[in-house]
Every structure is written in structure tokens, then in C-alpha cells.
């Protein structure tokens, strides 16, 4: 009789029944004697040890395997799985294996594991990473067209709802509208002021440095005035608002969609476009031009600070310079863009919110997409306006 020991080390907490097994070879029985607690904490180690048992190949023809369970003190699902899979492995290699000496409570567990083992393996639907990124890319390209259609459709719905509430002003959500005015407009003043002020200062400072090569430092004031009124004020405001409010719209509407609140609204007979979207988009259309105007002022104020520092220009001198360089056209060329930009941010933000599905991951994805898309579209619109206004000589 040969005995191969396979007991584990480092399990001193249960000295009475050491966790492990012995392998015995007796006449024509190849026996695995199992002892101690076979639980989920030990199975990984136990499996390695069992797999390391060397079995002579002459054994298989006339021998039977036996797994002796009498020494078990504790068994859980993982342990039962290991015992069962060992039996399966041995049988597969040609050693017919049976169980012996199992207590009834252990038998129930092993039978349960055997039953669920028979139920078959699931098919995993998995693509290769390459296939997946290719699919994503194709979907992205195809998505541009459908996105454009969706934005147009959404714009149409909002326009229809807006006309409807012009006819029935009582249906318009005034409270929500005022609430949104405060959130997207009033509360953004601080951050818009700060960023526009700093960027205005930076532009003037850079202008002075670059123009000094031509001895044209005072023209930096000109440049700043035109630049901030036509482009920087409205663009910076749009980017800030897209980051602040566009993302908030997506998150708000998206989480309502996740919790089926949007469906509940529809069932009750409330139109989500009228209740949620219209107040938000209109609030943006009102507030973004005002914020852009404020941003213009702050840009020029930042410039004034830098001008007094670098050019030694005092306040009245700075204002005189502005008077000389700024016309109404510059101001209007910037302002005319603001409502369109607001519309884009509002539409994209709300639309992405409606696309959110069940999971938290989807919410995060759509918030990101809303901000990126809104900023991208704002810059496109800005470029289109710039070219258009230049070609009509405005």
C-alpha cells in the first residue's frame, strides 16, 4: 500500500482535522481520503495540490477510484464543487470514481452541485477588441447623420411646443422657467466673470508682447476689443455654460429617465418636452446673451487692468481707445450668435438626457457626450457665422 500525503500547511487553526487529503493505493482501489474543512477559502490551494497528484497510467484499466468523505468536518458549495470536479476529472482519464462515506448533509450539497453542473455552459457573446473598435468607429460615423436628424427633429418638437405655449400661455411652466433662469444664468455670473476677466487680461498682455516687435503696442487694446466682442466673450460663455448647464440637463433628465419618471409623466399626460425641455432651453436662450454681454465687459475690464500695467494707460485713456476702435457692428456680430449657441447647448443637453438607459455607466457616457458635442457644435456654428458675416461685410 502506497500513501501519498497531500495535506496543506499553514492551517494550524484546525489541528484536529487538518485541511487536506491523503491518497491511498490499496489492492485495486485508488482512494482519495478527504479531511477537514473544505471551504471557499481553501479551494484554490487544494485544487493545485490535487492536480499535482501523480497517477501511474497502469492504474486505470483494472482500478476504481474512490473519494472518501468521512473525514470532512465542514463543506460548502466551493468545496463540493472541487470534490465533484475531481471525480469528473478522474473519470475522464479512465478511472471510474465513486463517493464513499459522505454524511447526509454533505451529500445534499454534492448532489446539488452535480445537478447544476449538468445544466450546461452559457454561450459567451464576445467580440475581439479589434472587431469591437471597428464596430464602434463605423457606428460613430453612421451616427453623425442620424444625430443631425435627431437634433433637427428635437428642434422641431421644441418649436412646436413653444408655439403651442404661445397660444396657451397658461400651460407654460413659469416657475420652472424662473428656477432655470437662476441656475443657468444668475449662478454662472461668478465663473463667467472670473474666466473672461483672466482671458481678457492674458490676451492684452500677449498682444502687447507680440505687437511690440512692430512698435504697435497701443493697438493691443484695439485687438482685444474687437476679439472679445466678436468671438471670445460669447465663445467662452458658451463653453462654460455647456460644461455647467448642458451637463446638468443631461444628468437631470437622464436620471429621471432611469427611474421611469419620464414614463410616469407621459402616462399622467404631461409632455416631458413642455415640462422639462422648454423651460430649460428658453432659460438658456434668455440667459446666454446676457452672460455673453457680461463676459464681453469682463474681458475688457481684464484688458484695462493689464493696459494700465503694461502700457501705462489709465482708465480714461483706455476708454478713449475703445471708443476709437469699437463699432456697434462688432458688438452685434458677437451678440447675434449667442441665442443660437444657447439653443444648441440646450437641445444637445436635453436630447442626450433622453437617450440615457438603465445603468449608471450610460448616464456618465451621455453626460460626457452632451458636453463634447455641444462644444463641438458651438465652435462649428461660430465658424459658420464668422464666414457668413465676413462675406456680407458686417
Amino acid at each position: 500500500m502506497t500513501i501519498i500525503e497531500g495535506a496543506l500547511e499553514g492551517f494550524s487553526h484546525c489541528e484536529d482535522h487538518r485541511v487536506g487529503f491523503h491518497v491511498e493505493h490499496e489492492s485495486n482501489i485508488f482512494r482519495l481520503r478527504i479531511t477537514g474543512e473544505w471551504t471557499i477559502r481553501e479551494v484554490a490551494q487544494l485544487q493545485r495540490e490535487i492536480d499535482a497528484i501523480l497517477m501511474p497510467s497502469t492504474l486505470f484499466s483494472d482500478h476504481v477510484g474512490e473519494i472518501e468523505l468521512g473525514g470532512l468536518s465542514k463543506l460548502d458549495v466551493a468545496g463540493a464543487w472541487l470534490i465533484n470536479s475531481t471525480r469528473k476529472k478522474w473519470s475522464k482519464r479512465g478511472l471510474k470514481t465513486r463517493f464513499a462515506g459522505a454524511g447526509s448533509e454533505h451529500h445534499i450539497l454534492i448532489d446539488e452541485v452535480r445537478r447544476s453542473d449538468k445544466a450546461g455552459q452559457p454561450q459567451q457573446r464576445q467580440k475581439s477588441p479589434f472587431q469591437r473598435s471597428l464596430d464602434d468607429a463605423l457606428k460613430g460615423i453612421g451616427g453623425i447623420g442620424s444625430d443631425a436628424m435627431m437634433i433637427l427633429g428635437f428642434l422641431g418638437t421644441i418649436a412646436a411646443t413653444f408655439t403651442h405655449s404661445l397660444v396657451h400661455p397658461k400651460r407654460f411652466r413659469w416657475v420652472a422657467f424662473v428656477h432655470q433662469l437662476e441656475h443657468v444664468g444668475f449662478r454662472a455670473i461668478g465663473i463667467v466673470s472670473l474666466i473672461c476677466f483672466l482671458i481678457g487680461a492674458v490676451i492684452l498682455q500677449q498682444g502687447v508682447v507680440q505687437l511690440s516687435y512692430y512698435g504697435a503696442e497701443p493697438l493691443a487694446v484695439n485687438m482685444l476689443a474687437v476679439l472679445s466682442l466678436r468671438e471670445v466673450g460669447v465663445l467662452l460663455t458658451a463653453i462654460i455654460v455647456a460644461g455647467r448647464s448642458g451637463s446638468a440637463f443631461t444628468a437631470e433628465i437622464g436620471s429621471m429617465k432611469m427611474r421611469e419618471e419620464i414614463d410616469a409623466m407621459r402616462i399622467i399626460g404631461l409632455d416631458p418636452i413642455e415640462v422639462l425641455v422648454l423651460p430649460r432651453v428658453l432659460a438658456l436662450v434668455v440667459m446666454v446673451p446676457l452672460l455673453a454681454f457680461w463676459g464681453d465687459l469682463m474681458c475688457m475690464l481684464g484688458g484695462a487692468m493689464m493696459a494700465s500695467f503694461y502700457l501705462g494707460l489709465d482708465w480714461s485713456g483706455y476708454v478713449d481707445n475703445l471708443h476709437a476702435s469699437v463699432t456697434m457692428n462688432h458688438f452685434l456680430a458677437g451678440m447675434i450668435k449667442a441665442p443660437f449657441v444657447a439653443l444648441i447647448i440646450g437641445i444637445v443637453g436635453c436630447m442626450e438626457g433622453f437617450k440615457v438607459e438603465g445603468s449608471a455607466e450610460s448616464l456618465g457616457y451621455h453626460v460626457t457626450v452632451a458636453v463634447v458635442k455641444a462644444i463641438f457644435l458651438v465652435i462649428i456654428v461660430d465658424a459658420v457665422f464668422a464666414m457668413f458675416l465676413a462675406s456680407i461685410g458686417f
Partner: protein, 266 residues
């Protein structure tokens, strides 16, 4: 009556696995528990009942360590949970499993990955072994194998609960906490879930702590019922005992109400 005697014999002279003593807790100006006492025995199915807002879920959260409490002691496996350091706390947590009301599955992971989260976190195991063990758990709770690679948002409410139960069982815990396991299921699904809990309990020798409103669950699988009212556990006993001798107005209304009557005599 033999069933009652059987149940009574089952709950006699057994090891206490959870012991709550003089537990007091409040939220701001509201008392939730006042000197609450409760024992949970090894291997039993304990049903916790009580009206809405009496703190059934709060008690479960106190015991599982998700909420703190002001006074009193909670002992699990004979150890005071507040005296544990972080490592002991984690070791204790691996012996507990919790099924939250809507499953609380992680939305970004598949069902199989959800079940593997506790194994991945606490054990050092090869991937193939985790896959096999998770599949066994999946089948034990009665989910079809093709649910393994689905995301929770693609499952029905009942399937999400089963998947949540599979995750709670991932580490072969000794105590399982179930928060309203049958709410939101149709009567057939609820009965199947009751049977599943009973079956798992008898196969795995689990201790089940179940917060429930479901009279059918109480009578069909609970060994013992504890009633939460007036900021403490006012009655414990077999469901049949509580129905025969309520000794408390709320218990009387609960077991004497039209639904309980319809269940017993209908």
C-alpha cells in the same frame, strides 16, 4: 400541530449567531429603537415584520454595519461588532451576505462578474475557478445559464433579485440578510422565491434574516417571526403562535387582518 412542534424543536437550544442587546438609535428628533433586544439562532429562518417606518430596514443596516447606533451592543458570532478593527470587520463581512431590495447589482458589470466581485475582492483564485463557482451559484438560484453574460438592465425584476441572491451567496456565507425578497414579484414568482430560500437554507445550512411583509413567506418558510413595533421587538415566536396569541394590538391587527384571514382560512 406536528409542524409547529417540529419547528419549535428546531429552534430550541441552539447557538446564537446574532445577539442585539439594548440597542438605541434615533434620527435627529425621531426615535427609531429604544432598548431593542433580539437573538438570531444558527440555522433558522427569522422573519422580521413591522409596519412601514418602524425601522425594519434600519435594524438590518445596523446589524450589517451600514449604519451606526448610539447605545447598546450587537454581537455577531459572539463578537461585538463595534470592537472589531478593520481587518476583523472585513473577515466578518465575508461570512455575511446581503440581498438588497432591488438586487443592487452593479450596472456596469455582467451578472457573472457581479457574482464574482466578492470572490475577486477577498480570495485569491484562478479565473476559471471563479467562473465555474459563479455559474454554480447562478444555477442554484434558478437563473438560466444564458443570463450569465447579460447586464442587470437586461433582466426582469425577479431575475435581478435572483442574481442579487447569487451575489450574496458568492462567498458561501453563514448568515444571509434578505430585504423584502418577495416584494415586487408576482404570487407565483414569490412562491418560487420562498421555495428557493427554503431549499438553499436546508442545503447550505444558512441562517436567514428576512425582512418581509409577505404573510405567505412568513407562514411557509419562517421558523420564527419577530415583530418590530413601539421602537423594540414586541413579540417573537412561531407565526402560528403569534396568530393564536397576539398579545399586542399591532400583532393582532397584522395576523387578524383580512389578508391574514384570507390566507389561513380562504
Amino acid at each position: 400541530m406536528s409542524e409547529i412542534n417540529h419547528k419549535r424543536a428546531k429552534s430550541r437550544s441552539r447557538e446564537v449567531v446574532i445577539s442585539v442587546r439594548n440597542l438605541s438609535k434615533g434620527f435627529e428628533q425621531q426615535i427609531v429603537f429604544d432598548k431593542l433586544n433580539l437573538d438570531v439562532f444558527r440555522g433558522e429562518v427569522l422573519g422580521i415584520v413591522g409596519g412601514s417606518g418602524t425601522g425594519k430596514s434600519v435594524l438590518m443596516r445596523c446589524i450589517t454595519g451600514l449604519l451606526s447606533y448610539e447605545r447598546g451592543t450587537i454581537e455577531i458570532f459572539g463578537k461585538d461588532v463595534e470592537a472589531l478593527n478593520q481587518r476583523e470587520r472585513i473577515a466578518m463581512d465575508t461570512r455575511l451576505g446581503v440581498l438588497f431590495q432591488d438586487g443592487a447589482l452593479f450596472g456596469a458589470l455582467t451578472v457573472l462578474q457581479n457574482i464574482q466581485v466578492p470572490m475577486r475582492e477577498h480570495l485569491d483564485m484562478p479565473k476559471s475557478m471563479m467562473d465555474e463557482l459563479a455559474l454554480i451559484k447562478l444555477k442554484m438560484v434558478g437563473l438560466p445559464a444564458n443570463a450569465a453574460y447579460k447586464f442587470p438592465s437586461e433582466l426582469s425584476g425577479g431575475m435581478r433579485k435572483r442574481a442579487g441572491l447569487a451575489r450574496a451567496l458568492a462567498l458561501d456565507p453563514e448568515i444571509v440578510f434578505l430585504d423584502e425578497p418577495t416584494s415586487g414579484l408576482d404570487p407565483i414568482g414569490a412562491a418560487a422565491f420562498d421555495r428557493l430560500i427554503w431549499q438553499l437554507q436546508s442545503t447550505l445550512g444558512l441562517t436567514v434574516y428576512m425582512v418581509t411583509h409577505d404573510l405567505d413567506s412568513l407562514f411557509s418558510i419562517c421558523d420564527r417571526v419577530a415583530v418590530l413595533a413601539d421602537w423594540k421587538i414586541v413579540r417573537t415566536g412561531l407565526p402560528e403562535e403569534l396568530r393564536e396569541m397576539p398579545n399586542h394590538p399591532w400583532v393582532e391587527r397584522y395576523f387578524g387582518g383580512p389578508r391574514a384571514m384570507a390566507r389561513t382560512f380562504g
